[in-house]
Symmetry: C2
Subunit: 415 residues, 2 copies
């Protein structure tokens, strides 16, 4: 084939953070979980993956570039997603350019994929969730698959479990499903991102010297060795899922915060009950929890919920902008930046929260008063790498502006 | 009464460390646990309480001195122990000195108590366990109570739960009991200290900036809020108790180590599942666990078991002297002393283990090679305060040498 056309689609997909945790698979290959989970989608303005997928008769093989570097697609997780989307491909026609791809052609055509995270990939911020969701969403659009986002989520799930929850904005439930082939293990939206729009999310990216256990390995070992996990999955989580959905629908922050914190702690408890034990949180994580718990208790009603994934980073969900500004003051008191760090690169994302907190420069950080709820509060300079201020956000979108594509429309190679 | 005689008894009682943990009371007042526990008694040569109790008609009230400082006896825990022992007092006669105390006199006589720990009280080394055991044991001897050590353990239990296990040497089981008045919630010896005498115990006293939750408060909050604790207490621990007794009786170190580590981790898991979560271990504790786990796995069979109580200190139980010497080398590699600390005050207790490890001075510590099972092993100078080398030891003993008494035989006041 001497044809040289390239057809491309570019999509942007958010990352998400679970408030009722997914930990443990009942089927390793299909990635079927031992319990339902619920997440909040993070604003893609601050944390998202952008993926361009392209097809051309001139491509000799499937290829992928992640953050500019070519990576192998031979892994089962990528192969699962490519195979499942190809199986759902339909006719595609570009009348203007006189290009027609029929349903059966897709089996013979190769794709190029370029993906870019607008946040550090290695920081433990669920980059694989956003990444696989974006891959599946973009491929589905390129190949004109007719499946809705829930159906696509069951495919993204086979790339990375939590990726299925990134197919929607707002709050999202991953239903564990019942059937053996996994077709009913998919994501549904609980409420969209406008339903509870006064929530503010601050992420503390925590410095760590430790090499962490990957979540794939960690959850396998927990399933194999923890005597508490099955009790959690069967007896505790089902009730929490019902309560969490109620809390979200009613915007009941007290109940939401209680459930979110308790479930994060229980996830880390089952990690510790694993043999050998898995420690994702470190002393800095513990100090952030202590800061939030003491403040919540001193006020009498929860101001902030915390949740931690498979790493030491804290995701803090504040009731509203006022609570978020106060939280940021406390966090910056405890964890001021190293002296060689500028405030502008220490608090990222929605910087208006900084302004609400009355902090314009490092002198303001230095001058912050100790939180009154803690006596002799120490300061832990350098223990946090940076903060990201964000909020609940929308699900996947197509980017029609070709300037945002990551692949060249002529060559199908990275720009 | 112008009589001025003083009758005294001095006893020495070991501390103990649980290998199947006690965490959670079903009766706060009687101190009745939610599950059985098993402990190893530590050699009193290195960790013990010495207590002198005295009675004299000249005493105007019950008084107590702990480590030389007078403390109040008004707390319910002391009152419980004093009341229960007084109720069991019998006739006492010193024919030589012509002193006779009849059973009913004890209700009117006051006691003086002086107690001394041969280890730092605040270091989180179960000083209250040794302390209450010693108090009850010494008072029982003074008052000629006829109860055996198991019966006395049920009284010590009302001072501090884990104290009941310090009435015996070797390995000890605290049976939770069934009856409402708690009379069957007492300790029994599993095996004595000679049964498994090649075990070596190294305690790492870990530096901590954090103020810890007391175990009394912590276990109350766990009982009230953890959704995992009851499952642990009812479904998991009963099986582990049976397996642990078997392992100890058969000196099966692999099984012993597996159960000990798993139960320590599960105890800390239910602490983390508490609301607000309780963190007793810190990054140093985690690093010690990682050091042991990696070594055990690299050898293929467990060399060392670890267990942590309500604080960051590690109690490490080595299979034998050879494993203990290797462990000490690894520990001193990771955690060398601060430059102003001498080796002699950094490794306490049975220093022959140091010699076995080929370490004579700080230069030898500096020259230690990194453990081969870990790549790029970092050193954490100053993160451990000191180490104590010890072994399983005997139960309470009476000290007949009056020079070891803590009270003056003339005045009944601290020497």
């Amino acid at each position: 084939m001497a044809e040289s056309w390239v057809i491309m689609v570019t999509a942007q997909t958010p990352t998400n953070i679970a408030v009722i945790k997914y930990w443990g698979k009942r089927d390793e290959k299909l990635i079927l979980p031992v319990n339902d989970s619920i997440s909040v989608t993070l604003d893609p303005a601050h944390l998202c993956t952008t993926t361009t997928v392209a097809v051309s008769p001139s491509f000799a093989q499937d290829r992928m570039w992640l953050n500019g570097k070519e990576i192998s697609l031979s892994g089962g997780r990528y192969q699962n997603c490519l195979r499942e989307i190809r199986a759902r491909a339909c006719d595609v026609e570009d009348k203007e350019r006189g290009i027609k791809i029929s349903k059966k052609d897709w089996e013979k055509l190769y794709v190029h994929i370029a993906s870019y995270n607008n946040f550090p990939t290695a920081a433990g911020l669920a980059s694989s969730a956003a990444g696989f969701a974006c891959l599946v969403f973009a491929l589905a659009k390129l190949m004109n698959a007719k499946e809705d986002n829930s159906e696509l989520s069951a495919i993204a799930r086979q790339g990375s479990g939590s990726a299925c929850r990134s197919l929607f904005g707002g709050f999202v439930k991953w239903k564990m499903g019942k059937v053996e082939d996994g077709s009913d293990s998919l994501a549904v939206q609980v409420v969209d991102e406008k339903h509870w729009d006064d929530l503010v999310i601050i992420i503390a990216v925590v410095s760590s010297r430790q090499k962490e256990t990957s979540s794939t390995t960690g959850m396998r070992e927990t399933v194999e060795t923890s005597l508490l996990l099955q009790h959690r999955a069967k007896e505790i989580v089902p009730k929490r899922i019902v309560q969490m959905e109620e809390s979200i629908k009613n915007r009941n922050f007290a109940s939401f915060a209680h459930l979110t914190c308790a479930d994060s702690n229980q996830f880390h408890a089952v990690c510790m009950d694993t043999c050998p034990p898995i420690f994702y949180m470190n002393d800095t994580s513990h100090r952030i929890i202590s800061c939030v718990e003491k403040w919540n208790r001193s006020v009498g009603t929860p101001q902030v919920a915390y949740t931690f994934d498979a790493g030491p980073n804290a995701v803090l969900i504040a009731h509203n902008r006022k609570a978020a500004a106060q939280l940021l003051q406390k966090l910056l008191f405890y964890f001021p930046p190293n002296s060689d760090t500028e405030l502008n690169s220490y608090v990222l994302g929605d910087k208006s929260i900084l302004k609400d907190a009355g902090i314009e420069d490092l002198k303001d950080v230095e001058a912050l008063p100790p939180p009154p709820e803690i006596k002799d509060a120490p300061r832990y300079k350098g223990d946090v790498s940076y903060f990201i201020c964000t909020r609940p956000g929308q699900g996947p979108v197509l980017l029609s502006d070709e300037s945002q594509a990551l692949l060249s429309p002529e060559t199908g190679l990275p720009k």
